[in-house]
């Protein structure tokens, strides 16, 4: 009898582990209790354009590991994962080709007071009106570590968008080739903007932010009600020198071809550029490889 994922989630006791056998599953599921969903092999959850792949609304912690979430499309927010309440831990997941055209967060949307901790994940080819890869809104919080955010497209915040009182931290991530379109495109990689009464906080550290096409604003902070932006020890394109700080500026020199075009070449200024002790012995890159010392900027370790 084929594995019924929806039934397995319904039957699972709060806090239970659901091991999902390798395979492709049509999925537009609501997770409303603490749960661990673990892919056993190659597991694809396909939203089939019929809504978010997963909506998470719980008081506890939901953990997702080893899943590929594709084909989500919602008129709300969060085509891949819509985190509406509770906490989400996502490890080694890929969110690809998901859409939230009406609002945003093609890959992931975090809103309300929800919190997401995202490690070694990929956000690729997602679409959203704002924050095509990741949208963090209201008082949501997200930490992305060792993640690849690439080739996503939005009107505002091609990679990541933080709004209202959101807090977003990116460490050791690669944001590359994200796009902003429309009449007033803003924030090819990252956009943030608050309100009269609260401001989002965004920190980027040890990241590579790269665009093949020079855009109006790679990292955009809304002028009227700006958010708090801290950029430390990242690699940005040469044309972004105005960002200043202790960031580096130049071409990241990706491999640029093959199955992992954002691998670093030996000549890349990101190689060995991490601050001493930035990564611990346990730290891994997006592929799960040891970071080494002193370590490299971005999602991929150079080996």
């Amino acid at each position: 009898m084929p594995f019924d994922l929806a039934q397995a989630i319904r039957d699972a006791a709060p806090g239970a582990v659901v091991n999902v056998p390798a395979g492709a599953y049509a999925a537009n599921l609501l997770i409303d209790k603490p749960l661990r969903l673990i892919g056993m092999g190659k597991v694809v959850l396909d939203g089939q354009k019929h809504g978010s792949v997963l909506r998470v609304r719980t008081g506890g912690v939901v953990k997702l590991a080893g899943l590929m979430l594709v084909g989500g499309r919602t008129g709300l927010a969060g085509g891949g994962v819509a985190l509406e309440a509770g906490e989400l831990e996502m490890l080694s997941c890929t969110l690809r080709f998901n859409e939230a055209p009406a609002w945003g967060g093609g890959g992931l949307c975090v809103r309300g007071s929800a919190k997401a901790r995202v490690t070694q994940c990929r956000f690729e080819g997602n679409l959203g009106r704002q924050g095509a890869g990741v949208l963090v809104d209201e008082a949501g919080q997200a930490v992305l570590r060792d993640c690849l955010v690439a080739q996503n497209a939005a009107f505002e915040g091609g990679g990541v968008c933080a709004k209202e009182g959101a807090a977003v931290e990116l460490f050791g991530c690669t944001l590359a080739d994200n796009k902003v379109l429309g009449d007033a495109p803003r924030g090819g990689a990252v956009a943030l903007g608050g309100t009269m009464t609260r401001a989002p906080k965004v920190t980027l550290s040890h990241c590579i932010v790269a665009e093949r096409t020079r855009g109006a604003s790679l990292v955009a902070n809304v002028e009227a009600w700006p958010g708090s932006l801290a950029l430390t020890h990242n690699l940005f394109p040469e044309w972004c020198q105005a960002l200043g700080g202790d960031n580096r500026f130049g071409e990241p020199l990706f491999v640029g071809e093959g199955s992992e075009p954002y691998f670093l070449t030996r000549e890349s200024p990101a190689v060995g550029a991490a601050q001493p002790q930035a990564y611990g012995a346990e730290d891994r890159d997006v592929l799960g490889r040891a970071r080494g010392q002193p370590g490299d900027l971005g999602a991929f370790a150079f080996l």
């Binding site: 354009k49 008129g75 927010a77 009406a102 609002w103 009106r129 309100t195 009464t197």
Partner: protein, 333 residues
């Protein structure tokens, strides 16, 4: 820099006398000012006090009558947040005989402008239909051409919601042809829809920031202070959804629904009179001859499926069609 009215006053006293005709000219010049501010009123009052002895009695009476009857209006010099969206617009007061509310508050008052905030326009109309008192309480007329709108921030975010007060003047943006660019009222003298949207835009960082899609439920929460609920239409069994709409609207809570994107394969709006990628106010749920209907309103205040009477944007859809054509639904708390 001297004001236009100041320059006219200087001319008037040059020959050391002010005739009635000159006084009337001055009043006309004052009325032609883009905005009759307290500063301009003060300037004219000072002029009458200082040069009253040089005027004949009729001229002085004309000026004093205008000063006592004119209502000065504050000019808040709209911040950058409200300027950046379009530059080819003029900002002018709604009009000298404008009023915050005209004949009460109804959904029919609300006419969406030319930005992508149908979620907000539909949401505002939903609030007007469900609980007009809420809107009345939210907007305070400061009596000087400015209004203070109270919103709630942080609703549904776990902590305690905070009140936010945003003051705006009554200048509205008009396109080169004179048409309102943003949210307006069907009655051109009614101000509340424009004031509410303007305050929301100022709070959120500008029309550009709110004109890029959003949730009606956000507006429900920020105006009412009560947590809203939202979901996809397909999450409900049709009869359960119909009942939820009926019970929510009968409790005077707002409801709005959004259609699928235009290019979404799940719906085809061609020839239906319903538009894709659009939000609608949900006015209620009824049953006639054993058929369940959902009553909706297009926030454009027009453009509806045929056979629904006057083209005021209000129409009924059989529930079976509603669940096929609408993707998400949002309920005010």
């Amino acid at each position: 820099m001297p004001t236009r009215i100041g320059q006219r006053l200087s001319v008037a006293v040059k020959d050391r006398t002010v005739s009635r005709a000159e006084a009337e000219e001055i009043v006309q010049a004052a009325r032609a000012e883009r905005k009759w501010t307290p500063a301009l009123q003060g300037e004219l009052s000072t002029f009458v006090m200082k040069h009253g002895s040089k005027m004949d009695a009729q001229a002085k009476a004309v000026l004093e009558d205008f000063i006592s009857s004119s209502r000065p209006r504050a000019d808040l010099r709209d911040p950058l947040a409200l300027k950046e969206h379009r530059t080819d617009v003029t900002w002018t007061p709604v009009g000298p005989d404008a009023s915050l509310f005209v004949d009460g508050i109804t959904a029919d008052d609300v006419m969406q402008g030319y930005i992508g905030d149908c979620y907000l326009a539909a949401g505002v109309a939903s609030l007007a239909a469900a609980d007009p008192e809420l809107i009345k309480k939210a907007i305070k007329d400061n009596g000087d051409g400015t209004f203070t709108v109270r919103f709630f921030e942080g609703v549904g975010e776990g902590g305690r919601a905070r009140q936010v007060r945003v003051t705006v003047d009554d200048d509205v943006a008009k396109k080169p042809g004179g048409e309102a660019l943003y949210l307006s009222a069907r009655d051109g003298k009614e101000e509340w829809p424009a004031v509410l949207e303007k305050a929301y835009a100022k709070w959120k960082g500008g029309y550009e920031r709110i004109g890029n899609g959003g949730f009606a439920s956000d507006l429900f929460q920020t105006v009412s202070g009560r947590a809203a609920d939202w979901g996809e239409v397909k999450d409900y069994k049709p009869d359960a959804l119909w009942k939820k709409i009926q019970s929510t609207t009968s409790r005077h809570r707002p409801v709005a629904a959004g259609t699928f994107a235009d290019n979404d394969p799940r719906a085809n709006y061609s020839g239906t009179g319903v538009h894709g990628d659009h939000f609608y106010t949900v006015l209620g749920a009824t049953e006639e001859g054993g058929v369940k209907y959902v009553t909706l309103r297009n926030p454009w205040g027009m453009d509806e499926p045929t056979g629904n009477g006057a083209d005021d944007g209000v129409f009924k859809l059989p529930l079976t069609d509603f669940v096929k054509m609408y993707e998400n639904i949002e309920f005010g708390g």
